[in-house]
Symmetry: D2
Subunit: 347 residues, 4 copies
């Protein structure tokens, strides 16, 4: 069968990437695209790279417009998807690319987001180890899916194998991420101008305020961490897409180097989209651009007493839209890899 799909927030970057991937999916038909202030425009006016979808027109984002599709993707600013949840009762599968349904802790929501708290949905990171099994299993048959935060899933995938295997400690994690501006969306802000970013770099959300911190902590708890502490600093750098996360954690007492590497090897050895690179090989952003791939390298620094996990992810693809569609495939019982590529567009 062919599923009818509606994508809201279709004029933004996340919505655009969802559409780019769906456009090559043989089992779906993109029936409806919606936007807020851009409603009424042709989609191609805002997504000029989506040539194959130039027949589509942006409708207003409303429960009425979204209702009745087999699948709805919500790619809306945080705090906005909640209002559609109740209204979309007749939609078989809803995938939210926003944060509204990610957190299980109302306290964490209140502290980092605020506003109304919404029921947590099934978290859309299939390769994540949760309570001893892959999250993939929880996604089978899911009808409401919360796609992950791009930074959060990158860091969680980096850490969880080591936490679950008990080879690293979760009490003093430090992660610094070189990130491209597309993660901030198509927002008209001075610091996101090309003139400001070309040849420059700067950190933001420094000092424990970034909203992806509780999402990482939630994933670490799912791997058995009791009181995970995470220092998290994103650094904006001049590449349109990508997250290069350098994540370090203290080595657990008495473990060998072989045991450390084995944790990641066993977690991801059979995965198509999350790959551990050979020792000494570092992932590059260009290896994953446009792909649903997370590449990872694990280094052990005994002098510093830390494991360093470097991970490269395309924030819009595997970080957001790819995770959403991979989760959709699993939920619907389709081939998990349909419409997703493992090869990046490089150079």
């Amino acid at each position: 069968m062919t599923y009818s799909v509606a994508v809201s927030g279709a004029s933004g970057y996340a919505g655009g990437e969802i559409l780019r991937l769906l456009a090559q999916h043989p089992d779906v038909e993109i029936t409806t695209v919606t936007a807020h202030s851009n409603a009424g425009d042709p989609l191609i006016a805002h997504q000029p790279h989506l040539r194959s979808l130039r027949h589509l027109e942006l409708k207003p984002t409303s429960p009425e417009v979204l209702s009745g599709h087999d699948i709805v993707f919500l790619a809306l600013p945080h705090g906005q998807s909640g209002q559609y949840t109740d209204a979309l009762t007749n939609v078989g599968l809803v995938v939210d690319a926003g944060a509204d349904h990610r957190l299980t802790s109302k306290d964490a929501w209140d502290q980092f987001y605020g506003g109304e708290f919404h029921t947590p949905w099934t978290y859309g990171v299939p390769e994540l180890l949760v309570d001893g099994k892959k999250q993939r299993e929880n996604l089978v048959g899911a009808t409401r899916i919360a796609a992950p935060g791009c930074n959060a899933s990158t860091v969680s995938l980096s850490l969880v194998p080591g936490i679950a295997a008990g080879v690293i400690k979760a009490d003093d994690i430090v992660t610094v991420l070189a990130v491209g501006p597309s993660g901030a969306g198509k927002s008209l802000k001075t610091h996101l101008l090309a003139s400001e970013m070309l040849g420059s770099a700067s950190a933001y959300g420094v000092g424990g305020t970034h909203r992806h911190i509780p999402e990482i902590q939630q994933a670490l708890r799912g791997a058995g961490a009791v009181d995970p502490r995470v220092s998290f600093t994103p650094v904006l750098v001049p590449m349109a897409r990508g997250i290069l996360a350098t994540t370090t954690a203290r080595i657990a007492d008495g473990v060998t180097d072989a045991e450390i590497r084995a944790a990641w090897e066993s977690a991801y050895g059979d995965e198509v989209f999350v790959n551990l690179l050979p020792e000494g090989v570092q992932p590059r952003i260009s290896d994953v651009v446009g792909a649903n791939t997370a590449l990872m390298s694990v280094a052990i620094d005994r002098a510093a007493g830390r494991v360093i996990i470097t991970a490269a992810v395309d924030n819009l693809a595997k970080g957001t839209a790819g995770a959403a569609i991979q989760s959709m495939n699993i939920a619907l019982g389709l081939n998990e890899t349909t419409a997703l590529t493992v090869n990046g567009v490089a150079p």
Copy 2:
């Protein structure tokens, strides 16, 4: 008086930046520029931006050519400056931009560099707190100066105020640096090609192998740290110049936020070239491009138990050539700021 100056390694990036700054220095005359394989070429063939020096020709780098100048700058690959040291007895001031004379520990040299160990020279970071005073004092009248490693001085300047004041611990430092490729020099290596770096990012020297680690540890010991441990990861990002270092250290027990900030305020409050930004303001690379300025922001993350110091430095300017010339100014009793600017070239 006017000092005669020779610059070796003049066809490379560090040598080029030394020349760019010296070209606007009223007290020196650039008499000689030298190179290895490029000897015989006009300087302008390799440094086409140095229009005011287009009359100069590259001579071979040899003790004979360098001898007899008032000042010699060595901008040579690591391990090469040592051979000139003994021969330059008749040179009043030698400033080495390479690593050969930076480390005081032969063990550290053997572990991270190897080859012959050389006498340590006066370290060229004037604003660094060393044994309770600024390194500036040690530079007065110095005749042999070791300019710092760009990453090392950026991280050391970030940490030393907090270590010296006892508000942060040195036992578990983590630093991740977004760095531009010019720090790697004009080397013909595939991973430094524009095609490889544009739109991409990747880490290197991961896992405790980077040569700037012992240099940082040496600075931390100078601030009173007993057994400093440093996890250090540089990430190459697509900007020609710049280091955006995110450095975190554990908060010492019982200190207040005010005490923490006061450490950096008192260390740098009177400095021209090293500035602490107001709380919440983050430094950008473009603010320091071409300038001798290090900009720093201190954030306190009580949940993670860490102080996060972000610092922006132009690796070629304040990181290398600016530090070299600032140190020269001090050594010679000139105005410390001559030929150096505090304002970056932005956007």
Copy 3:
């Protein structure tokens, strides 16, 4: 049936892109990849983004290794493919991404390339109007195909509709192209270093020396031009991929604006991969990154007496590998669009 394929020059950029596209082609099996100095290495060591092909090892490029495949792609430096031509008699289809078999004029070859002249093969630009029909028709059943020069095909596709329709003159064409460095290949040259290119731009091959000029003139003659004159200047800019060509030609006497636009509309109105944008809409490189799409805009400047055609093409995709595979599809009677996308990876 499944065709067995060998790709030579597989460690370079053009070879890598051919492999990236072939990896998603259902009708081919990539059996063999070859290289020169990198023979013996795993492919993934040189193409770390081609995750799905990490089982392949680079064999030496030799007639023996390439023989016996159904299809061979040659992605070799100019002047090197000729030596394989005679030896590959038992290969059904050979597609040369180099220049050796593009030019029909030995004089042009001698002037711009030199060395041995080789028989011209069927030119691999399906949408090009040649002698009143699309080149597509000539490609059906072809066994030897010369993929185009990326700049040449971009400019030729820009001009040919207007020349063929008689609405622009070919006697004084001026084209200036903003191009990314990947077109120059993975060559270790100083001017291609990231440090040199980030934040910079410069022209090369200025003054009528660029090797794509005779290829453009050949295409213009195919559209009826008698003595085409082309001023051609490429400008290297800091984007990994892409050609943004601004091509201008003098307006023919007495033609109306409607007649001018109609020339391009009728030439490309039915094409999947070459699209004329609506008046006033300009193509962007990011719209075509990774795609087999050429986007074009036609503007008319009556005050200057010129038509300006701007075109965006991914030099590695539609400019080289995409054209090669599209031509292969046609030659073999497969669906022309298999393994090729129309949507770019943006932002």
Copy 4:
């Protein structure tokens, strides 16, 4: 004496660059900085790279605030400086970085700008040949100066020597410029976002609509051209600063290559800031970043019948602020080069 200076539009890019240069000018004191919507903020909030001016606060832009200074720089959007002109009667020197006082032809103003036409002021391009002499001569003692459009002065300086010497024709000029986004100012527009520009390029103002066209034509008439025709296309590329202009003109009948080169050599042989490069050497943007230098190369393509002049200029420096301050120096009888550098910041 020290001149008191006010800079309006001080929170924008042009205003920022004027301030960066003035900050190193020994003969001026920056007393007042003004802005429109940002009035009341500290200057450093909008120009964080201008560390030496962090004591200044933005005042509202009004005749009252600007009056009474020795020198006023207007860096306002086009069409806004006119309103201040009459009110600033007691200001010795006014330099307008906007377009309001550049054009001598009311018809051209009406066609390309519209709105009220203002008296033309002395044009601020000292090296431009106008009516057989350098514009420098007209600037001596000037009290009202119109700084040039950055693209316009780059193209005019490229062409005028050849036009004035009669070695090229002005009837069919084609110029295509690779330009950075800072020329568009700190405007919050989607196409100027980093996400949109990184890895991309696109043309704008195509087809004879760009406002710098009449300014170029005016300069060409000053060199003796009767009815200059100019096809002008700017292409936005991902570098923060810079204009790399490729300008071509038809070779005049019967002139030799030596005569052609001699035109530019004699025009610029004695100039400090406008340099002709040796044959075959191409200018790079990085050679002129932050500098008041225009670098130029002249190539002759006899097959195409055209001279190609490539020129590199920093749009904010020599293109705007540098030209403004150089003109100020001349007008006031100061050393023409004060506060201006010839060396770019590279790499």
